[in-house]
Amino acid sequence: MSWRKWNFVLHRDLGYLCIGLTLLYGISGLAVNHTSHAFNPSYTIETQKGQVSPLPSGKVPDMSYVNQCLAELSITAQFKNVAMLNPETIRIFVEGNTIDVIVATGETIKEKIERRPLLFGINYLHLNKGKGTWTWVADIYALAICLLALTGLFMIRSKGRRRALFLTTIGFLCPLLYLLLKPS
């Protein structure tokens, strides 16, 4: 078999192997590219204001007050912990929710956290949060797409050479021009 045929087989099979992971990294890439304090790509975070009975003046917040707050807010999720953030605010942690209670006024801010379906998993892999085995898989994938690009380069036929070179050059120029022109 000629080298061109080997190159074609390698490019084709690597292409098949990389489809799944390329989609995974691509979709996750879109999501994590837009990470900000207003958008977490892996979790949905909802905040909601509410009201409970204020703590009578002179009283120190205790577990009965915490339970009363949870009952008034109709929160049945499993209780995790409670912390006194400052003399005015307690933070109650329950499974999936964090509730800040301003004890003097009874005002509450509930923060509900939920994993985004699908995105949580693929971001976990893309950002390599698990390390270990996945580092190997990701490294092999990175090498595979480099090979995919190189074998693709050698698939250029004389007929469409000009177009191929033009598009390949654009591909290289995009990041280079950005780096050269970006404000320091």
Partner: protein, 153 residues
């Protein structure tokens, strides 16, 4: 091809599910003796640059990247920030309300007046707390721990 696809699929789900069972993040903990957060806050200069092990309740986690978390002190209303290199360790948002043992190096962060105001403004926007920016006068320094490893229970 089918075998390869199946292998990758199994690996995908194994990685996602098994990794959540362990809450060991970053480098394994090496220190045995726990330093109280209140001690570090009280005498930060004594601990500056030193590696310490602390433990406490996680009261806040970075909502964008999981790149920091606040650990409550053993003294009421006090806390200390654990900052990690983005991506090196990612603190899960669900960790809020759990206890953590964290090992890291105490460091000082020096802020100009503008930086301190900007940070306070950002914190106020995020937390909904009222902050009086006029109280920030001149450069400030705060102390935090550069996290190397953590165990979340």
């Amino acid at each position: 091809m089918k075998k390869n696809s199946l292998f990758l699929l199994v690996l995908f789900f194994l990685s996602v599910t098994t990794c959540f069972a362990t809450m060991q993040l970053g480098a394994p903990l090496t220190l045995q003796e726990v330093t109280k957060v209140s001690e570090i806050n009280k005498h930060p200069d004594q601990y500056l640059g030193k590696q310490v092990l602390i433990e406490g309740l996680i009261i806040n986690v970075c909502a964008a990247r999981g790149c920091w978390m606040d650990i409550a002190s053993d003294v009421p209303f006090e806390k200390i920030k654990i900052k990690v290199v983005d991506g090196e360790i990612v603190f899960p948002l669900e960790a809020k309300g759990q206890t953590a043992r964290v090992e890291g190096i105490v460091e000082a962060v020096h802020l100009t007046e503008d930086q301190a105001r900007s940070m306070a403004r950002h914190h106020a926007e995020k937390s909904g707390e009222k902050v009086d920016l006029s109280t920030i006068k001149g450069p400030t320094t705060y102390y935090r721990i550069r996290g190397l490893g953590a165990e979340i229970n």
